[in-house]
């Protein structure tokens, strides 16, 4: 692993001066041919890659109003330059959102605009050279597609869309990222990111039932492939085994148990994550989402509930209705899909859960708004419900809650630093540095309110923080699933 210094947490965040090339060495491992084949892309850089890439760029732009508008309208005002956590953490100017976009925009201008064809120097247009391609590979894998820049841009330019397009072009010319593409291949083959086959899944779930029984003395079911259940739970596969994710899963099970809702997970679609969004691949996006629709249909469920996962909830909330060919078999009474926090919130409102808030009194809690939930989706029926509902749930289950600084939460939230397909050990330096703004905000509430519990509702956030908290001298056990807070406060057995 590369050597690097963990940034120092400062009293007040400051905007760093640029340090050219300071992250030029950061690159994730390139996918081998067999991995590329699994997601339908060429195994290595194709001979006429320049031609293929430029052509693909043209197709993508003419198929996406977002790209078309974003590439044309940026006025280089600079409003976004200090908004990206990767810039704040690394000082590399190419991590400023507009500079990242310009890596692609300069090529677009060169081949598709009048000014770029005839006056390239004047407008900063560039030929699509190998050097440019390498820069793309490096810096479009330093964007977690968190959309923070799009909040502040006067035209809503979303660098996430640009980096998705860039990764799609990279894949098309044969240079894919190992981490994302390997994982997607497993989803297509087996049904989840881990490649966990059905027997292993069933085993894990049985183990979980035993754990809950040992802890509470109650038989709480964690069913797999149960036909005719009301709810199909689609949750990130990290929930099945990773810490602290699994405690969240136990929380969901307890909620369903106490509310008397019959539910199941599916072994065919045992994954909420859809990494296709990260690599900007429409075919893979559709294919991965369709698995879930088919599982719901085959199991005959009435509704689909999505577990704690950021980009998965964005895909579910914003894209499923577009991607699923038909969903008429689902019960129209419920929002399609529902977030587990919406379900729990609704049950709390209706008094269907027995809660003992004191059970969480040892915790002093803050909440991290996951970027894709905050800026890519909603919960409930008012704008901003995605900020209100998780907090309401926490406050209903615990007494000590403290928000971080307003400029770092809600739609202004900072990404954990590991989103967008970057949650891989070969990008550890980037992940640690990208976590800086969030760590600074966390330090404030730790110093001021003795916060000891850092709650998230995203599998990527949880893994990323479990790994990066120690770099900043925080206890890695601070990171906690929201539904662990819920689960710990439920008085099971009292209304059976």
């Amino acid at each position: 692993m590369a050597d690097f210094d963990t940034p120092v947490l400062k009293e007040y965040p400051i905007i760093p001066l640029i340090k050219k090339g300071s992250m030029a060495h950061s690159k994730p491992y390139v996918a081998k041919p067999d991995i590329q084949a699994g997601v339908g892309f060429p195994g290595e850089l194709v001979d006429n890659w320049q031609e293929v890439g430029v052509k693909k760029l043209g197709e993508l732009v003419s198929g996406s109003r977002a790209l078309q508008v974003f590439l044309d309208t940026c006025v280089k005002c600079g409003a976004c330059t200090d908004k990206c956590h990767y810039y704040l953490g690394t000082s590399d100017p190419l991590n400023m959102p507009v500079a990242r976009q310009d890596l692609l925009r300069s090529v677009y201008r060169r081949y598709y605009t009048f000014a770029g064809k005839f006056f390239p120097k004047l407008v900063g247009a560039k030929d699509f050279t190998k050097d440019v391609l390498d820069k793309w590979y490096s810096y479009f894998h330093q964007c977690s597609q968190c959309r923070r820049c799009s909040v502040f841009c006067p035209y809503g330019i979303d660098t996430a869309e640009v980096s998705m397009a860039a990764r799609e072009i990279l894949d098309t010319v044969g240079v894919g990222q190992k981490y994302c593409n390997e994982i997607l291949g497993k989803v297509h083959k087996i049904g989840n990111n881990l490649g966990l086959p059905k027997p292993a899944l069933v085993d894990t779930m049985e183990g979980l039932e035993e754990d809950i029984k040992d802890e509470t003395g109650i038989d709480v079911r964690v069913p797999v492939d149960q036909k005719g259940a009301d709810v199909l739970l689609i949750t990130p596969s990290a929930d099945f085994f990773a810490e602290p994710h699994i405690d969240g899963l136990i929380g969901y099970a307890k909620v369903f148990h106490q509310a008397g809702i019959s539910w199941t997970v599916s072994s065919y679609a045992s994954e909420a994550a859809n990494f296709s969004m990260f690599i900007g691949s429409n075919e893979n996006l559709l294919k991965t989402a369709t698995r879930i629709r088919d599982a719901a249909y085959d199991l005959g469920v009435k509704r689909i509930v999505v577990g704690e996962c950021g980009h998965a909830w964005r895909v579910a909330y914003s894209f499923w209705n577009t991607l699923f060919k038909d969903m008429d078999f689902l019960d129209k009474k419920y929002p399609m899909p529902s977030h587990i926090c919406e379900v729990t919130h609704d049950l709390i409102q209706r008094g269907a859960l027995k809660i003992n808030k004191e059970a969480n009194d040892h915790r002093r809690i803050t909440f991290h708004d996951s970027c894709n939930v905050a800026r890519g989706s909603r919960m409930g029926n008012i704008p901003g419900g995605q900020f209100i509902i998780p907090r309401e749930v926490i406050k209903a289950c615990a007494n000590n809650f403290y928000d971080m600084a307003p400029e770092t939460i809600h739609e202004n939230t900072f990404c954990c630093g590991g989103g967008g397909g970057l949650l891989t050990d070969d990008l550890m330096e980037l992940r640690v540095k990208g976590a800086l703004p969030r760590m600074e905000a966390l330090k404030q509430v730790v110093d001021e309110y003795d916060v000891n519990t850092f709650v998230a509702i995203c599998a990527i956030c949880k893994t990323q923080f479990a790994k990066t908290l120690p770099y900043y001298k925080f206890d890695m056990d601070m990171i906690t699933s929201l539904h662990q807070i819920v689960g710990d406060s439920l008085e099971l057995g009292t209304n059976d």
Binding site: I18, R65, A66, G78, A79, P93, Y317, S318, L323
Partner: protein
Amino acid sequence: MSLSVIYAILFYFATLLFIVGVARKIVIYARTPAPLKIPTMPAPLTKKGVAWRLTKEVVVFRSLFNANKWIWLFGWLFHVGLLLVLLRHLRYVTEPVWTWVVLIQPFGKYAAFAMLIGLFGLWARRFLVDRIRYISSPSDHLMLMLLIAIGLSGLGMTYIDHTDIVSLKAYVLGLMYFDIQPLPSNLYLITHLTLVVILMIIFPISKLIHAPGLFFSPTRNQVDNSRDVRHTAGWTAK
């Protein structure tokens, strides 16, 4: 060929390029599909809400205000100044001059200064702030220089060397009826008009297209109703 005819031709040519160019861009934006729902959340739940969101972006530059107060201040001064200046210019093309155009004349005079202060502020940032220096291309500097030069040459007419407004107006109105009148000769005016012609020509092929572009930005103009209404377009409609 007299100057009057040369400038008449230039203006027709620039107007044609401007109108066709902007219309073409708008048609492209309108026709290009937005296959997925990608509003930057939290987003309005209704079309009316979206109209309000866009109005705030256009009138007070809301996102920019939240992002950076200096850019907002200079940017807003410049645009409001520009708007007033352009409205004030309507007196050259309307006969009789519309009452409200007459009423805003006094403000218009200060507007030119607001516009220039804004432009100089924005330009200064391109030198002083290292991040913005890094992202600026020559064209970004030239664009600001162009607008500043237009403003200064205009002010030159207002304060230093008045031009013959009556015959200028006759010339402009004449252009509109394809009846070319003599163009008053004044160095400031000739400079002013030359630069305006350049501005009109580059408008559709440069970042100036941000003006119409803003209205088509999917992150700003989409309604947050993906669970209730099935949205399909482009590849998702196939």
